[in-house]
Symmetry: C2
Subunit: 606 residues, 2 copies
């Protein structure tokens, strides 16, 4: 057989063209291409991950996994002078750390509204609020009365409340001594409702609900069908206080605590509380209809509500299942008083009546997230995997190894009524061999998984700062970050708007310095004071050009602040020792940054 | 024309095979593929970047740009409890921050030996040493006498000395008051030589050299041909002390200060010093042959010695050139006393005699690095670029934009006699539009550039933590990170090797708790003390399994430590207020991590 050269030539050219354009080598976009954000391009999503015992929040770009920012919350941060200036020092109230667990973006109608990020500090029972425009911590509450170990909190779907619970029970009010072995009789748990001002975001305690001394663990807000309710897992219904590893793992079932927070708010309004430790504490044994116990196998850890609000999914860490409770069934059971009796005055709803599925996911299920297509994703701590299963059919469909021992996972829009099924981020506790060694203290690890297909696909490993417990992922276009402070509108203490207003005033032994920092000098830059003076520096960065931050650092002291364009910060220093103290701009700002310095001379006492 | 179908078929198959295997689509590996490290694989290099005013060192993997670790040095770090336990608290000596500038890996024969990383704290004039096996800070010196603003230091090629200089002059000894306007007469600069113990790495002050009150800026060690010498740039030969932006930018030339540190050591041995502030201070006006001034245009910032040690390259921030001095020429000029007179007793070597090139690199040259092929790379702060030029021909060959305003740059093995010309990392000060916004405080940025080809090629942008000033990049196989502490060999205060040794002892009002942390409990886990007791906790993690760290956190206190496998840490707490304080493992360790808790009860005073 012979055909014309021309026809073959055509065939060859077509084939070559098809292959040469990449059709032959890019059938599936490579993982490298999926996560690479080329210089100048931006990530598509923000991921806000808690830092655990670092006390901070870390902001990552997704899909690149690049760490964009550390937001200091509960620990000082010399990089920005957080915890060094008077305002933030006051906010931190003497605590030098926190254990930041569960970040939550504020919601409107069950959607992330991008206004604030709330986060808890477990050991000091505090909540903090970060402004998602300035990316600064604006508020840290004091320790919430009666709450011991604030491991979990949730935001209600319109950010009316932050509901926070005590993981560790203690005698109330806190500060009361009772022998530890009187635990079952004298220790109490509590769920606290912090009201959130819709305009300012300011938090204030409304009411609390007393619980038995069980360990309240993780929580989720009802939404859609279940709006007005909230759900808390618990362990240690055994009321163990020593050898808990064994003691708190005895019962085959513990409880999901279902809370009708609107009914509780009404009860508080009606005066159905007693004051304990400065808080209005509602006793559910005396005020029924506020909380119910849903028996759930076994030491459940995570609890998550499906986007439609119809199901409450609890991950039972000591049973290879997630337990699905139907909200409708629960309401029916409550209406019918379909109870298995009560415990310490709280009704125990019959398990068979609320439970619609025990999904056999695998070993050590901890947390579940949902996508926009009716699938659920559960981390398996012991199996080191994420499992995909279907709502409704309750069938397990896929399983992907993650390395190693995942805790939480986060899907874009994970806590909302409309999650976006694009990526899943597994936050794993153990890295072992995954990265270059950095000594005996290993980093934690996040793994980015593509969940758009039938099968999950691992795209990227990246190390994470601190110990992330949970994350919030939000599309980048939902935030409108502030790019500089408007100096003209500033009324910060000691602010000056121009170099003409800068200067030094003395009142007895108090010296007030109103200082301007601008490329590339301080004004004033020579200051003489007397030993024993208390010197207050108000430093204003009068730049109105983005990204031109100045630092103010005084040698041989703990005075260190960074001041962003248009910002004013105040630091106070006692001039105890004579000598000459240089100060300088600690943030490289210009070609003449090195010349941005001055001297503070302290004359000795005569 | 017609040819056989068979021949055409062969041609088609060959072509298709060639294209299909990727030869057609991977002519050049994409930047995405160059930097992607697929899950489970490791980076090839460690980059140690200083954090500037964060006070820390950050460890990145290269080429991925992933942040592998934060090493706390000068600032507390709640993540690990650094600055919280007694040992690190003592090392920090009351300072809560530092300004970490110029990391330096210890060298043997001019090569990185991977034993230690040294880093300076500018405002408190301290040096720190990090063990590159444990990745822990092992030593922080006290403030070095007479040094005010320790902006620069260098390591000699066998880590005999760290030579550190004062950026800000001050009246000596520090603590002496002089009116600021007596600057030229009463302020002094100093170069301090800290001797390093070759076995332990311990630093101790040997001698100091007095200089005029110029601002000593950046430094580099002589090596190879120039071993035994060190070079420091300076600005402010005008001796300005106010309005320095203008005042210190007058002279067309300032100095590179050439220091014969071996001659100085000998002079110190011979007693040619006076004691000032506890230091042996050599006055070069009285002891000639120790320092020389090399005139250099104009406010030079970076100084770098070529790998062979033959040239001293100074980047003149206010002149569009780098100035190349020949070491041989300098030695000849010194021998011949080819001087332009002297200044304050120090000979000024004739510029034309040492200078061999003024390379026209562009605007705002700051720092230079070298590769293994005879090329030099200089950052241009004002031009926002890196320029490649050739040693010997002094020709500019290539220029690549970097975004924006680069300070230092680092090449693999950058400070050694054998740099590896693979990557260059530009550390840029300004990011502007390069990343998703994170509020008015922008991150800094590093850019990874491939320097294997004739033309430089930008591969990756990544945000950096704190404000990196300089970095050290080393091949991963040159470090052997420790993976866990050997408990059997530990003699840490309060260490216990098994649960049997754990316990509580009381001595008056001092209570000592020797505690074991192991999956998933503390022993003891119930502790009762009296109000007013001083409680010392020695917490030993008796795990001998990699990556299983435990935390020990006491609620409502600033007691927070992480304890790695085999490690013991000690914290002390005054039991001032009665009540029940839960403690817990703050680092997720196992499926029963949540059960790893205990109670400390404080009985009220009777």
């Amino acid at each position: 057989m012979a055909i014309s050269a021309k026809r073959w030539l055509m065939a060859l050219l077509v084939a070559a063209a098809a292959l040469g354009t990449g059709a032959g080598c890019a059938r599936q976009k490579s993982a490298a291409d999926e996560v690479y954000v080329k210089p100048g391009d931006h990530d598509k999503y923000y991921a806000f991950l808690s830092g655990g015992h670092s006390g901070q929040v870390y902001v990552y770009g997704i899909p690149s996994g690049r760490l964009l920012n550390e937001i200091p919350v509960f620990s000082p941060y010399a990089r920005t002078g957080y915890g060094f200036d008077e305002e933030t020092k006051k906010m931190m109230a003497g605590y030098t750390w926190g254990d930041a667990h569960h970040p939550a973006i504020s919601e409107t109608n069950g959607q992330y509204d991008g206004r604030w990020l709330f986060i808890n500090d477990m050991p000091h029972a505090r909540l903090a609020r970060i402004n998602l425009s300035s990316f600064l911590t604006e508020e840290i509450t004091g320790p919430i009365p009666n709450v011991s170990g604030l491991h979990t909190f949730l935001l209600t779907p319109n950010t009316e409340y932050a509901l926070a619970a005590s993981r560790f029970s203690a005698p109330m009010p806190l500060g009361t001594y009772q022998p530890i072995d009187s635990y079952a009789k004298t220790f109490d748990g509590v769920i606290a409702a912090m009201k959130i001002d819709p305009k300012s975001g300011h938090m204030s305690l409304d009411y609390e609900i007393k619980t038995p001394p069980i360990d309240l663990d993780i929580s989720a807000a009802g939404k859609g069908a279940s709006e007005g309710w909230a759900f808390f897992t618990s362990y240690n219904t055994e009321l163990s206080y020593t050898d808990m590893e064994v003691g708190a793992s005895q019962h085959d079932q513990d409880f999901v605590v279902a809370v009708n927070w609107k009914a509780a708010a009404q009860a508080a309004l009606e005066g159905k509380y007693t004051m304990v430790g400065g808080a209005k504490v509602i006793d559910p044994a005396k005020t029924p209809g506020i909380i119910y116990f849903l028996p759930t196998p076994k030491s459940p850890h995570g609890v998550d509500v499906t986007p439609d609000g119809k199901y409450i999914v609890a991950s039972s860490k000591l049973s290879p299942t997630v337990t699905v409770h139907s909200f409708d069934n629960m309401m029916n059971a409550i209406r019918k008083k379909d109870f298995d009796g009560s415990w310490r005055g709280t009704p125990v709803v019959r398990y068979k009546s609320t439970m619609v599925a025990e999904v056999p996911v695998g070993l050590g299920p901890l947390h579940t997230q949902f996508d926009d297509k009716g699938y659920a994703y559960t981390t398996l701590f012991v199996d080191s995997a994420v499992v995909k299963w279907q709502l409704g059919s309750w069938k397990v469909l896929d399983k992907i190894p993650v390395t190693y021992n995942p805790g939480h996972l986060a899907v874009v829009g994970g806590d909302t009524t409309k999650p976006e099924g694009k990526y899943l981020l597994a936050m794993n506790k153990i890295t072992k061999d995954r990265f270059l060694g950095v000594g005996p203290d290993f980093p934690t690890i996040a793994q980015l998984v593509d969940i758009t297909g039938q099968k999950m696909r691992l795209l990227l490993d990246f190390p994470t700062m601190g110990e992330p417990h949970y994350g919030q992922i939000i599309a980048a276009d939902k935030l409108k970050p502030l790019r500089l402070f408007d100096l003209a509108k500033s009324s910060a203490p000691g602010v000056v708007h121009s170099e003409q207003e800068a200067g030094i005033t003395r009142n007895g032994n108090k010296v007030e310095v109103k200082m301007v920092a601008i490329r590339s000098h301080f004004k004033p830059d020579n200051i003489e004071v007397n030993q024993g003076d208390e010197v207050t520096f108000h430093v204003t960065n009068t730049e109105q050009d983005e990204n031109i931050a100045h630092g103010f650092a005084l040698d041989f002291t703990n005075l260190d602040i960074e001041v962003a364009p248009g910002e004013t910060k105040t630091v106070v220093w006692k001039a105890d020792k004579p000598g000459v103290y240089p100060f300088y701009c600690s943030n490289f700002c210009s070609a003449l940054h090195q010349e941005m310095q001055g001297y503070l001379a302290v004359r000795p006492r005569k």
